[in-house]
Symmetry: C2
Subunit: 111 residues, 2 copies
């Protein structure tokens, strides 16, 4: 999860990923559209690839990059653990305040 986040934290990489939503593209195409110099695009694609977010498929002279759904599914699954937040009313200070209350009860017992 951490690798996903840090890969997507870089603005240019986020743009690349968003561009690849529309389909696989070779490096040069990405470079042109996003106005990023080719070496930087290659480097960013390296990072994205290491993070498992994209994969490459050689085609003749070109290297065609495309998204790998898997990691995005993981991100989706991770988000799941937060979804209860906006369903249930979670702002009642549930977790900690129970402890706090227990603590205060103990104090008042001591009195």
């Amino acid at each position: 999860m951490n690798s996903i986040m840090s890969a997507l934290a870089e603005p240019n990489r986020l743009q690349i990923v968003e561009l690849l939503r529309f389909g696989p593209r070779p490096v040069g195409d990405i470079s042109e559209r996003l106005r990023i110099r080719q070496p930087q695009v290659s480097k960013h694609l390296r990072v994205l690839s290491d993070a498992g977010l994209v994969e490459v498929q050689p085609l003749a002279n070109l290297r065609i990059y495309k998204l790998r759904p898997q990691r995005f599914q993981e991100l989706d699954a991770w988000l799941d653990s937060f979804r209860s937040m906006w369903d249930e009313r979670f702002d009642r200070l549930d977790g900690y305040l129970n402890e706090l209350q227990a603590q205060e009860n103990k104090d008042s017992d001591k009195k």
Copy 2:
């Protein structure tokens, strides 16, 4: 979106967010549980707060932090634009290869 990602890219901050899933907590509590020194926790919470991921609610001497669902919903919405990926079979090189094919047709016309 970028601010969300870069806020969550830092491992300790990700941990903090994951801890806050279970409910609001004051700084000291976070510091203890995650074994992170208090000043760093405060600094990380600052970043998370600036990114809109958490909000604070003072209670006596304490400052109780909790997650703000809004930004997580945005992240969820962003992920939506990728969901078509793992439904449809998206590895057929749709986008670019159409262009490429068009290009090659043009070339063969020239012949």
